[in-house]
């Protein structure tokens, strides 16, 4: 009995989509609900609080701005990686996917310095409600960055063997991984102002 997932290359006639693409969009919808629930928690905690500190009391705005630029840049290199493989240019795909992964590392390194500074000043999630929601939201987002980097690294390395046998299937995987990576960027676009600037 074949265990192959159907419609990974050709679109399913009834949906007009490959199963992989439909699957990743359903996953992204669940991610919107996950982060949506946490955003709702943030709003509720903030509205119900007598005193809510401005983000700049605890957080470093220049570092967060740098991280915003890094993630936006990584989204562009992800598009260029997808475009390269769509045009059958494997070398350029590797270059841009490599830069995307490095941008992910850059983001995490900046986050490491941010977290270290907090811990050095004995600021923990248990210190107050603001820091609790800050660490929860940015920690969960950071895990998503790591997850995206893991998939991108697989596609850059061992997973790229598929390109030789089934290039279209490989391109679809790159596209789906890109959709996830862009969502990670999109979530950060909202996290940055609400945590750091408001």
């Amino acid at each position: 009995m074949s265990m192959e997932i159907p419609y990974t290359v050709e679109a399913r006639p009834d949906t007009g989509l490959t199963n992989g693409k439909l699957g990743i969009w359903l996953f992204l919808a669940s991610e919107v609900m996950l982060f949506g629930a946490l955003f709702a928690s943030y709003v509720m905690l903030r509205v119900g609080s007598q005193n809510w500190p401005p983000g700049s009391t605890y957080l470093n705005i220049p570092l967060a701005t740098l991280n915003t630029v890094i993630l936006i840049s990584s989204s562009v290199t992800m598009v260029l990686a997808w475009a390269s493989i769509a045009k059958h240019d494997f070398k350029r795909f590797r270059l841009f996917m490599g830069i995307t992964i490095l941008c992910g590392f850059g983001f995490l390194i900046v986050k490491y310095f941010e977290y270290s500074a907090k811990f050095h000043h004995e600021l923990y999630p248990s210190t107050n409600t603001f820091l609790a929601i800050y660490f929860t939201l940015t920690g969960l987002h950071g895990l998503h960055v790591i997850g995206g980097m893991a998939v991108n690294s697989y596609l850059w390395g061992p997973g790229s063997a598929l390109y030789k046998t089934d290039p279209v299937h490989f391109m679809n995987r790159v596209e789906n991984s890109g959709l996830f990576w862009h969502l990670v960027d999109l979530v950060w676009i909202f996290l940055f102002p609400i945590l750091y600037l408001l």
Binding site: L17, A29, H182, D185, L186, I189, I194
Partner: protein, 112 residues
């Protein structure tokens, strides 16, 4: 690699070479716009606007940036209808999720 081969390969994958080039060009414009809007977000912070105005402005800019990412990087400008319907359903569920907890703590609303 010849251009005709490029076109054939890209077309087989559901994207013509021209379509791919269009997405790449758009990505550069979107990148520039996102950088400028990030500058506006940070700039607005240093204006020390009244709280309500600052929140409205920051969320407006973030929504614009998010829409650009979704439309062009995630290719929603040219996506299948099924994806749109799925996102509409997600939005319909997301909005109450965002509002309900807040409404329950509002003094002037009595949920029975």
């Amino acid at each position: 690699m010849s251009d005709s081969h490029d076109s054939k390969h890209a077309a087989h994958a559901g994207h013509s070479a021209e379509e791919v080039d269009r997405h790449v060009r758009a990505a550069y414009y979107v990148f520039g716009s996102l950088l400028v809007l990030t500058g506006f977000t940070v700039g607005a912070y240093f204006l020390h606007l009244p709280k309500h105005l600052a929140i409205t402005l920051a969320l407006l800019i973030a929504t614009t940036k998010g829409s650009l990412v979704a439309a062009w990087f995630m290719h929603l400008v040219s996506e299948r209808k099924l994806i749109y319907w799925m996102l509409v359903l997600t939005a319909l569920l997301f909005i109450p999720l965002l509002l309900l907890p807040t409404l329950t703590v509002a003094d002037h609303i009595h949920l029975r």
